[in-house]
Amino acid sequence: MANKRRKKRKIFSPIYLTLVLIILYLPILMVVIYSFNSGRTIAAWQGFTTNWYTRLFNNALMADALKNSLILAGLSAGFAGVIGTLGAIGLANGHLKGGSFIESLATLPMMIPELVLGMAYLAVFTAVGVKLGMAALVLTHTTFCVPYVFINVKSRLVGMDPAIEEAARDLGASPLRVLRDITIPLIMPAVISGMMLAVAMSIDDVVISFFVTSAETTTLPLKVYTGLRSGGTPEINALSTLMLAAIFVIVGLSQLLRARSDKKLYASKQ
């Protein structure tokens, strides 16, 4: 009886997992497949072609959008990495006055609808006279990327045995040296995963970018969004496929790196 039931669960679990995963990936697969559709619209499959990729590569506007998105994601994740990590180190012990207020304020963008933030930025930037465009994009993206780095790094720091840093001091290292030799290497995986999240968030953002960008500066997701609103073209599919490929490579690499460092740090005793 019990055996039968266990068997039932053994069968149910993989079937369920597979089913959900198929549903999760099916739409992504569709985007990829239809990027090779020779038809002018996505309405029907009309044969195989790689034309859309060639067109994409020859499209100067697309190249510009890609360049903008990469610069934006790179700068925002970089700034957020530094700002969030420093903030996490500074706030990790909870002794700073007003620390929890600053923490709540800095992580608030995660909890506010993007639309509201976007309009708030547009309103303030216009009122104060900040020029819309790349600089405004970097500032706003950095702001909503900081929480991802901060939370990741802080939870790593809080989970760390304080004795490890104390031991380094005890062995003769100055506070700055401890930061360099011990703290930063130990929180590095969290910094990197936080920054990668930041890249994902920035490269994916439509709403806030929509508000603070200028007519001359467009980003990939904005391109995709305008393309989709007008029904979608195989060119958009091709673009999306390339974005997907890039993300698969990034995630694959990061998982590989993580698995390797985990193996080194947490290898079982046996």
């Binding site: 045995d161 004795a163 490890i164 104390e166 031991a167 380094a168 001091r169 005890d170 062995l171 003769g172 290292a173 100055s174 040296r177 030799d181 011990i182 290497p185 130990l186 080194k264 740090l265 947490y266 290898a267 079982s268 005793k269």
Partner: protein, 366 residues
């Protein structure tokens, strides 16, 4: 005077520390001699770890001074003190291999590569971990991590080694083995150790002197023998070993011996150490293994009791008796069950007066 100065390595003077919720340490003073093995013993929360952290510089005292080699170190940061610590959690750097862990203290102090390599090799040999130089801490067992933590702390040649319950996480057998090894190491290197434990057996086995702590104060500071045989307070008597404590009034004393009268009868004690005065209350502490139950009355003692049970305890028999007022007492001494009294028998409790401690005067009730 000069000689006495150089003999003392570390001296804590009137150290107090308060974390905002009452004193963790209040007015603690301690002199540690060069090459000495001093143990701070006490239950958790007694202030022993805070004392150690103040010596290491990981905590600053509110008042008082930490003096090492005659120099005031109270406000020196931990990296500037010639003192190293073996942490309770070992605190090995998880991202460095064994070799780099042990080398770290030398590296930050700017030693050259050759010196570091030689010293690391020497340290790993000392703790018998030479084969593990390339391993990561996660690949080591608890006992092995412990050895590396000790090697790492010893590598910069500290004048004083602080050990915070270093054996706490190990199982009993490994702990006994490490006790012996640590003691051997300390003797061999001649380094002064301050050792923290809550395990009284460990403290007695290893230490030159023990400070029993309670509520941020030293209850008693003395050699293991003094602590065991002459507990200064009731707390020490109860915390260390198993003993019976009898409370009574000093009936009369001649300075060397005194007669104590209790509700259960009276007995004679050695009072040379206790300085008793007639009429005052005092506690008498007798270790279980020194308490005897005789089938016939013994001179100087009139403590009749009823046997409840006799139980074989491996090598000796424990006799559980009840005194007249209901106090329960355990006696040892008989080696075979055949010699033990039967339940319900009346026996007479006694002991060697020289081996019992009297806690009287100012210490009474402490």
């Amino acid at each position: 005077m000069d000689e006495a100065m150089s003999e003392v390595l570390l001296s804590l003077k009137h150290i107090s520390k308060n974390f905002g919720e009452g004193d963790v340490l209040s007015d603690v003073s301690l002199d540690v001699k060069r090459g000495e093995f001093v143990t701070l013993l006490g239950a958790s929360g007694c202030g022993k770890t805070t004392t150690l952290r103040i010596v290491a510089g990981l905590e600053t005292p509110d008042t008082g001074e930490v003096i090492l080699n005659g120099q005031d170190m109270t406000s020196l940061p931990p990296e500037s003190r010639p003192v190293n610590t073996v942490f309770q959690s070992y605190a090995l750097f998880p991202h460095m291999n064994v070799e780099k862990n042990v080398a770290y203290g030398l590296k930050v102090r700017g030693a050259d590569k050759k010196t570091i390599a030689a010293r690391v090799k020497e340290m790993l040999e000392l703790v018998q971990m030479s084969d593990y130089a390339g391993r990561m801490p996660a690949q080591l067992s608890g006992g092995q991590r412990q050895r590396i933590a000790i090697a790492r702390a010893l590598a910069p040649q500290p004048q004083l080694l602080l050990l915070d319950e270093p054996l706490g996480a190990l199982d009993l057998q490994l702990r006994r083995q490490m006790q012996i090894e640590l003691k051997r190491l300390q003797k061999k290197l001649g380094i002064t150790f301050i050792y923290i434990t809550h395990d009284q057996e460990e403290a007695i086995n290893m230490s030159d002197r023990i400070a029993v702590m309670k509520g941020g104060k030293f209850e008693q500071l003395g050699t293991p023998e003094e602590i065991y045989d002459r507990p200064a307070t009731r707390y020490v008597a109860q915390f260390i070993g198993r003993s019976t404590i009898l409370t009574g009034k000093v009936k009369h004393t001649n300075g060397f011996s005194a007669v104590i009268e209790t509700g259960n009868g009276s007995f004679t004690v050695d009072s040379a150490h206790a300085k008793l005065t007639e009429g005052e209350m005092c506690d008498l502490c007798v270790r279980t293994e020194r308490m005897r139950a005789s089938k016939t009355p013994v001179e100087g003692f009139s403590l009749p009791a009823t046997v409840r049970e006799a139980r074989y305890a491996g090598g000796s028999v424990l006799t559980y008796v009840t005194l007249r007022d209901g106090t329960e007492v355990v006696a040892e001494g008989v080696e075979r069950m055949a010699d033990a009294p039967n339940p319900g028998d009346t026996v007479y409790m006694h002991w060697n007066p020289a081996q019992a401690a009297v806690i009287g005067g100012a210490s009474y009730g402490a």
